[in-house]
Symmetry: none
Subunit: 413 residues, 2 copies
């Protein structure tokens, strides 16, 4: 069944709040096999709300709104519902009693304004709200279902999970959808697509999406089926096919991260890591320590932003700094070896490059980065070019360093 | 003029990515006095994209889409445009040349797939993309403007700011809106609101919004007027009033950042900074070096994630580590003094705390952070509690450290 989500509020439409409500509802519904077709947002404007509700009811079986159910003047959702469905508002004594009780428990007298919240469109059913005074509203008419939920995320989530999702699942018939994600790094989107499409013919009912970010390209596998088993089977068949084609670039699945995975490998192995950073200024260390429990394998690092510190702290020789320069494979190796020795760690990573926008030359342009790795086995450095945008250069350098370590730990060449 | 924003992608409609693109565009347009009336999202589905584009073009003057312009198969925006506007795709040699050059610069051969990106709907103008191969597309027809931008946030933001916004502003007539931003830190939203509303009566035509983030609370001043001068005068009057009330907490205006401002102060003074980080793992260094030209005042730092490194590198005594613990004002001071000496810098900052979710005790709960500062004058440490969410604790610690240095440099107590 097609679903449309509408979030209501001036704070969304003016870009002052990120709309996380529709993300939450969309994910829950997709994971339960519903087809979320559209999401939209409107401000606190009754005409716009009517317009968007009418359009949604025409093209989608289920319409879910959030926001605009509070007691204050700018909360207009019920007024819009009444117009769209041509119904009156009816007063519900039982809802009023519940609201009064809620205020009593908090030791506050109920403001008169809250009486409005006991008014419901005629013939509507309601979903109780555990954390607030605005109940969820549900109207079913002519094969369409319209559900209005409060906008406060905590309240919305409670009503949605406890009431709305079970209700919608009970109505569900027909096909189901399975979604999973394969995470790749070290290869650009178009190359990956070429590799996959030239080796794979997609079966019916499956789709693949490419989602690039600084950490790499995620592959989203979507498979539909008449039953859950059918959708599952299709999704996992495609997953296996893709893994066979580009296993080298796949580091994880679904919510796994490169930093989490590398951390797990180090932890399992009882190994310690340290880092030496120049152009990333600490971002590699920050990314590694974004993982809870990283103190079990990460000792720390040196941010050697100036050549003086590269020399005095990391022991990069003035010969290297003068002859090869700070942005060179020699310097990357010396940095990695320097911090490994200083911190007495098993592995170390180093990053040195030109993040831009200034500081580039024709020989060493902005975006040029050398990444080093040192272990008891060997020291290596790789050369990368990461474009011209400072933040992108730094972020790509961080994930490339983590990928270098992943391959070293797994002995992937 | 009414604007409608449409974001395209299965990852949005399935709730796997939060839609930050429409938030960015909505905020920029609102700040420039446009009326964003609707935002919506669709998946990578050509019929749904057609449907939503047609509805949008009927009810809004300007329609802006993001996503679906990449080279891979799931990028369908252009195919939808062609159907909606009944135009053919035309090949642009100049765009192809630019894409080829971009790949050349990165030392990669252009995959054949990218050729698609040189196809544009007949009669469309295009907006160049500095960071990627998908250009922005603009079609003007019958009083409506349709703009399609790539979905990668970095690329979208560049094209929007450099090309789209100036273009749309040039079309604008009618009443004008002046928006400016005062940036505060070190005070929570409700306290700031109390301070301002109890001291200030708002004049007609002005509005104030509070925008909290990890770096502090931004105050958005919005003033409308029949002329630009009127709007300007109103905005600056309110700005001055607010400055008088809470000057102590205001560190900058509009796009100024705390890290940029502190950097400028150090640079003007010819002073050098170094840092010692524990729970932030490098985030303070990363934030400082996110500023272009930070090599003029930032030497680097030590990430001392383990106690071993705090002792061996920073010289924090075992007495402090055992008696007071790593999360203490004594340790923060020793870390700051240690790195200042080691790096021979004028100022140094240190951060040590419990980022969570684990590692808290009743005496030292998750979110407890000590921030130290050392200079030739004095060493100090401040105690903070930053809540319980790991990312929030770390980010707030970074900005509190920068604010501590700002006040030291400006001698604000």
């Amino acid at each position: 069944m097609d679903v449309e989500i509408i979030t209501i509020g001036d704070e969304i439409i003016t870009g002052h709040t990120i709309d996380s409500n529709s993300t939450f509802i969309a994910q829950q519904l997709t994971d339960s096999g519903f087809n979320v077709k559209f999401t939209s947002s409107v401000g606190d404007n009754i005409e716009a709300m009517e317009e968007i509700s009418r359009v949604a009811l025409k093209r989608s079986h289920i319409v879910i709104t959030t926001g605009g159910l509070g007691p204050t003047d700018d909360d207009l959702t019920k007024r819009a519902i009444v117009k769209v469905f041509k119904r009156n508002l009816v007063f519900h004594e039982d809802i009023l009693a519940q609201i009064k009780e809620r205020f009593q428990r908090r030791g506050v007298e109920m403001p008169a304004l809250n009486q409005n919240q006991a008014l419901l469109p005629q013939g509507a059913r309601f979903f109780p709200n555990k954390y607030g005074s605005a109940v969820g509203i549900c109207i079913a008419e002519e094969g369409r279902i319209f559900i209005a939920l409060p906008g406060v995320p905590m309240e919305m989530k409670q009503i949605f999970s406890d009431e709305v999702l079970p209700y919608l699942k009970s109505l569900k018939t027909g096909s189901t959808l399975k979604v999973l994600k394969l995470r790749t790094t070290g290869i650009i989107e178009s190359k990956l697509a070429e590799m996959i499409t030239s080796n794979l013919k997609f079966e019916q009912g499956v789709r693949l999406a490419y989602l690039p970010s600084f950490s790499g390209v995620d592959l989203r596998v979507m498979a539909s089926g008449a039953t859950e088993i059918e959708a599952d089977t299709r999704a996992h068949t495609l997953e296996k096919q893709i893994e066979n084609i580009c296993f080298k670039y796949i580091y994880g699945k679904n919510e796994e991260t490169l930093e989490g995975l590398v951390g797990q490998l180090l932890k399992d192995d009882g190994k310690w890591l340290s880092v030496a950073e120049s152009c990333t200024g600490g971002q590699l260390g920050m990314t590694i320590t974004s993982v809870t429990g990283s103190s079990a394998y990460f000792k720390g690092g040196i941010v050697a932003y100036s050549n003086e510190i590269k020399n005095s702290q990391l022991g990069v020789s003035n010969e290297i700094l003068n002859a090869d320069g700070a942005v060179s494979d020699q310097c990357a190796i010396a940095m990695a070896e320097g911090v490994r020795k200083l911190f007495n760690s098993d592995y170390s990573l180093s990053i040195t490059g030109i993040a831009g926008p200034d500081g580039g030359t024709s020989e060493k342009p902005v975006g040029l980065v050398f990444i080093g790795l040192a272990s008891s086995n060997r020291s290596i450095a790789h050369r990368f070019t990461f474009g011209t945008e400072r933040n992108a250069v730094r972020s790509r350098a961080v994930y490339s360093a983590l990928e270098l370590l992943r391959r070293e730990l797994l002995q992937i060449s």
